[in-house]
């Protein structure tokens, strides 16, 4: 018995405006129904006009996933009724999506097929409450119409570890492209795995869709639960039903939501309000040129260009902002003309990694300065430091006494005394370490 898993991931794009209207797409935390207009509210007579940037970002994402970009593409209406869907249909893509047939290689060496990457619009938000003793559902349409990119994989996964690796890579790619914050907790990256079990090496003729997965933690738990649930049914000679189930964190299990069969007649037809899209080779090339160097390439380049270990390379490139910060620092150091210390890339890398420097809190100027200081520090050999420490401890026996009594604060005093003697800026942490060593 082999798990067969395919993933549907929705990524919310951080465009300025919504997918089909000019309302601000920055809806999180805003007063309800203050980011709506006739279009995203589904008022009579309103018409959609597609967001150029959103479409280009979708294509860009598809390109990073090695997809084909067909010359012709269009939008279609997906018709179904739900209170969070104001028009009674969602504008999506059916048979001519923007991107098709891609692939992505995981750390485990496995290659996952990407079936398609397409654009659609988000729905409103439902909030369940009790008002005046009655159970009601409240609807906020601020999120209605926000651009969503849907990435569908072939059912190529067979374990949760790969799923998590894929999600992390996808998250990193969208952040590198700067098209989404891809935050599972905030809802700008949503996962719906389709899970089934194969007993004969072939793709099973049923699948269970799992919803309500809001964090990486839930991903592991929910998929593993579902695999176990289905496996035990099969062992009992029962076939799992094709359905949608929701992960219930409180109960730590998936719960059946609705039988999928019935609601699947979406009556797709081409969206008459939006003319089709036809790409020129020039435009495709232009979009491709917008793709920055992605993490994988960057790691390779860093390790080569800066003589870093692969591990250090991975850490520095985890987030593009950190990688750019690192490289900008190197650039600035090269410009130092006078006799100041010029830290090497490796020294810069070590410093950033060890200190966990936050690019938002430390300017490059401050960073370079700190690194230079720390390098100056190591010019005082440990032996010399130790001699000074021994002297201070001898002069102030109370330090040792109080320390043995458990008064840790006395170390600060010792540090102060050593600094007074040295009269130079040194690495306090190293000093603290050496003092504690001496005291023990």
């Amino acid at each position: 018995m082999n798990p067969v898993i395919g993933l549907e991931v929705h990524v919310e794009l951080k465009t300025k405006s919504k997918m089909f209207c000019g309302c601000s797409a920055d809806y999180f935390g805003k007063k309800p129904n203050t980011h709506t207009c006739p279009v995203c509210l589904g008022l009579p007579g309103s018409l959609p006009v597609p967001n150029k940037t959103a479409i280009e970002w979708c294509v860009m994402l598809g390109m990073t996933l090695n997809c084909d970009i067909p010359q012709f593409s269009k939008f279609d209406r997906k018709n179904y009724f739900y209170p969070d869907l104001p028009k009674g249909y969602q504008i999506s893509q059916y048979d001519e999506p923007f991107c098709l047939k891609g692939s992505i290689k995981l750390d485990s060496g496995k290659t996952i097929g990407i079936t398609r990457v397409h654009m659609e619009e988000d729905t409103g938000k439902l909030i369940h409450e009790s008002v005046g003793g009655e159970d009601v559902t409240l609807i906020d349409f601020n999120r209605s119409g926000v651009p969503l990119v849907e990435i569908v994989t072939d059912p190529d996964f067979d374990n949760v570890k790969d799923v998590i690796d894929y999600l992390k890579k996808l998250q990193q790619i969208t952040r590198y492209l700067d098209i989404s914050n891809a935050d599972m907790e905030k809802g700008d990256m949503r996962l719906e795995p389709n899970v089934s079990i194969s007993t004969d090496g072939k793709i099973p003729n049923y699948k269970v869709e799992v919803k309500n997965i809001n964090s990486f933690k839930f991903v592991e738990k929910s998929i593993n639960y579902e695999i176990r649930r289905q496996a035990s049914l099969i062992k009992e000679n029962e076939k799992p039903i094709q359905e949608t189930r929701g992960w219930n964190e409180a109960k730590q299990k998936t719960v059946s939501q609705r039988v999928k069969e019935e609601s699947s007649d979406y009556r797709y037809f081409p969206e008459p309000d939006i003319p089709p899209i036809k790409w020129s080779q020039k435009k495709i090339n232009e979009i491709r040129s917008f793709i920055p160097e992605l993490a994988d390439e960057k790691v390779k380049r860093f390790t080569k260009a800066y003589a870093l270990s692969n591990y250090d390379g991975l850490l520095l490139t985890k987030e593009k902002s950190l990688a750019d910060y690192f490289e900008e620092t190197i650039k600035q150091i090269k410009l130092i003309k006078n006799d100041e210390i010029k830290p090497t890339p490796k020294q810069v890398a070590n410093y950033i990694i060890n200190k966990g420097t936050d690019p938002e809190q430390t300017t490059i100027y401050q960073l370079i300065h700190s690194i230079q200081s720390s390098l100056v520090l190591s010019s005082i050999p440990d032996k010399e430091l130790k001699d000074i420490i021994k002297k201070v401890l001898k002069d102030y026996p109370k330090i040792t006494e109080d320390y043995k009594k458990g008064k840790k604060s006395v170390i600060q005093f010792a540090i102060g005394q050593v600094m007074y003697i040295i009269r130079k800026k040194i690495d306090i942490e190293i000093l603290r370490k050496l003092i504690i060593e001496e005291l023990n």
């Binding site: 000019g22 309302c23 967001n51 939501q257 003319p275 089709p276």
Partner: protein, 93 residues
């Protein structure tokens, strides 16, 4: 050709009485008979027309425009609470 009126009404989210279901069964069958004429036309190798304008690539720059105020957005709703539209509780979420 008979349309499954009950099933279609469900898909269309239309509340129909039993009398209406019966009436529509007959009327919709009649309509289908009328439009059967299309089968006489050979459409091999003919592409469907989705848009008569022939236009392509009509896109909008990513810029924000003013939204309706909350008051305007809710102005026509008969059921609201705390700035949101209110409906009977929906299960299954």
């Amino acid at each position: 050709m008979k349309i499954n009126v009950k099933h279609t009404a469900k898909l269309a989210n239309l509340p129909l009485s039993t009398r209406e279901v019966k009436k529509f069964e007959g009327q919709l069958s009649e309509t289908l008979r009328y439009i059967e004429g299309l089968n006489e036309i050979n459409t091999d190798n003919v592409k469907p027309t989705d848009h008569v304008t022939g236009q392509e690539n009509v896109l909008r720059e990513d810029a924000t425009t003013p939204s309706l105020s909350q008051k305007e957005a809710l102005s026509n709703s008969k059921s609201k609470h705390n700035g949101m539209f209110k409906v009977k509780a929906i299960l299954n979420e």
